[in-house]
Amino acid sequence: MSLSLSPEEQAIAARQDGAGMAMRIVAESARLLGAPRLIPIASAHIDGALYHGDSGTLFAEKLVEGGAKVAVRSTLNVGALDLMGCSRIRLEEPQRGMARRMMEAYRKLGCEQSWTCAPYQAGHRPALGSDVAWGESNAVVFCNSVLGARTNRYGDFLDIACAITGRAPDYGLHRPENRQARLVFDVSGLSASFLASEIAWPVLGSLYGREVGNAIGVVTGAAGHPGEDALKAFGAAAASSGAVGLFHIAGVTPEAPDVAAILAGPEPEAVIRVTPEMVAKARAGLSTAAAVKTIDAVAIGSPHLSHAEFDSLERLIAGRQLAVPVYACTGRHALALLEKDGRRKRLEASGVVIVADTCVVVTPIMPDIGNGVLMTNSGKFAHYAPGNTGYAVLYASLADCVESAVLGKPVFTDVAA
């Protein structure tokens, strides 16, 4: 079926201003995707404001010059700079200036200055069943899976074009029939102590992404709701190792009250029975550093740390001095609360480097030391840090990350799967 636009959409697409440009971009994408029509959206989350080169800045500025404004609530994902001034970004001129112009252009388009990859913990939580256009893979998977709102994986340029037009191509995960599960990912063969541990969900997410790719699966065998931060870590890891845009957890996520309710047919097309050996292998696969005696840094906060995660960090540090820095990446929504009661000062005095508005794998923050070793509790950082920062990675729980930062050498507590 070919794309059909309403008379109003056609009229906008014929205009020479920013809105016309945005409508033509949405319509051309819809045509390439084979969407029959455009549908209205309730909100957007924009990943396009991260600087990759001058052309992206010029695009955003052309929309501004054309008088474009977002038509729906639009939050911004991370940029390349820490506008809050918490951490020092080593981006040089002229890139630094172009990155700043890009962030400024998105502000002028009417986007909220949220600058976070966890907008869903910064007050942007679209309703169950609503259509939205979100970018950033972890935000997309959380929005679809945990909130039950409907979005595809919107890439650079299309996210802001959807936000300006208030429309998105009608295809993929916007359609209920494409949201049903075809695979079962059964974790009932794992120990209760492992499933209750902090590393369970990021490690399982990494395994899940590799096993299912872009198929829709339902996780079974989880004992109760693991908590929102665990679901955040699971989705982020799954969207790094695979092209996961939506997962279900039976009895936990809103579209899967039970397995039968979400399966596309009477029987799943495949059942993946997760064994302790598979988990051990997935966990080992998150580390790239071989036996090392020291670490150079710890990075946490991909996705951005929540208030609850800062509570855990502070409790684990317990006022001790760190031998190597802990880079704690977060959004300004969490920063506000940290500032209020003096916690930021206490954390920084211990040796924590708070990074706001951005993170350590998208812009140069950590020193360029060559052969550095980074420890992290994030499946997503573990995936991207080696390529983007040059640091080898060790994956561990937050508790082990903190103990290792205090000692300057890796400490691991074993948790049998």
Binding site: R24, I25, S29, L32, G48, D54, S55, F59, D156, F157
Partner: protein
Amino acid sequence: MNSAAEILVPGKAGEGEALVLMAPISFWGGVDPKTGRIADVRHPQHGEVIAGRVLFLPGTIGSSSASAVLMELVHNGRAPAALVLHEPDAILLLGLIVAREMGWQTPIAVRLERGAFDAYRGGAVAVAADGAITAVI
């Protein structure tokens, strides 16, 4: 060797040495936006340069910032001479769609069955504005 291909995104007709990729590629992190060099060390054609070539793509993987990298290549004058894809890749091709909106000259992108790619390997290829693909002798 001649093929009539479907136009995915109209653009400037192009001619250049064929570069038939043996494996899918992630543009973000996989292609240097400044030079057009394949930077992904795990890609079998690591080190080849896509600028000025007729690029045959068996598929793309990875980041949704592929569009930003392709547009940056266009802006830096390092884009392929033409793109030949097995199937329409909305994220990658968005880079061309947006570059056209910016008023920059973009290469044509056409669709061709993957099985027909090999016939063009190793020679020069022209892709006409009407989508016709011709081996140049």
